[in-house]
Amino acid sequence: MAWQWFHRLGSPKWFYEKTNAWMPWLLSISLLMIVSGSIWALGFAPMDAKQGNSYRIMYLHVPASIVAMAAYYVMAVAGAIGLIWKMKLSYMVMKVAAPIGAVLTAMALFTGAVWGKPTWGTYWVWDARLTSVLILLFLYLGVIALQEAFREQEVADKASAILSLVGTVNIPIIYKSVDWWFTLHQPASIKMTSSSIAPEMLYPLLGMITGFYIFFTWALLAATRSEILQREMKTNWVKHALLNKV
């Protein structure tokens, strides 16, 4: 009885119908937060005394980096659940997390490089933080490639799940890289206990981080839903849902 919800959660149809009502809300709230956060960050946050206006890139760089790593956790945990309980829906979540995570990681790397030019005088160095995030991008691309490499979906899912789990070792390395090998990238400015940023700079950043998390939630659900439609295309409920017939 207690496990009933778990089995229901494994049902793609139940998941699709359950999440239906959330989608417009998640998308509009997240876009509203990101757009207003960006306006705040670009025009109303004070200029940084040391870095000048280039620091306004932080409002994209930090949220994109945080959520890019959170997406990796989601992908790896979903892969593990798929391997252990053979839950197909979980594999679908793992599969669709990869391209979203890859785009966010690319965004973190791009904004970091462009921010680096006026701040450090260079777009790229083989600093530990930068290199480990580049590896994160390659892990995402690896999962995408593995999904395409097998004819059998089941084999592709298992292979991607194993790669995701093995790649998890990279996540603590990314976190700790700024402390272990402090070469160029600065350590984290916000921590749970204390923060070294002025409040009027911090609030829009927190808004952007929240907005990016909600946006990622929407993106993950939306991509999972389209993956469900693809894999269950032959069933009656999908035909019913997409062609609006009885």
């Binding site: 960006s38 000048g52 280039s54 890139i57 785009v103 904004t111 939306a222 693809q230 062609l243």
Partner: protein, 66 residues
């Protein structure tokens, strides 16, 4: 809370950092648009494929009646 720039031109140039800042925000718009549009486009493609299959099935049913 106040707007930190004197004019629109200053807002664009951001004291020399404009190109860097705006390049990042444009890239973000492209990345977010891609993430938003791809599941929507995929759903439409699946719907079209289903519609084609339905049509084909109807034609075959019609031909077998003749």
């Amino acid at each position: 809370m106040q707007f930190r720039f004197e004019s629109f031109a200053e807002f664009m140039s951001m004291a020399g950092h404009g190109p860097y800042v705006w390049a990042c925000y444009i890239a973000a718009v492209i990345a977010i648009s891609y993430i938003v549009l791809s599941p929507m486009l995929r759903k439409n493609a699946i719907r079209k494929q289903l519609q084609r299959q339905e049509k084909l099935a109807e034609q075959q049913a019609f031909q077998s009646m003749e």
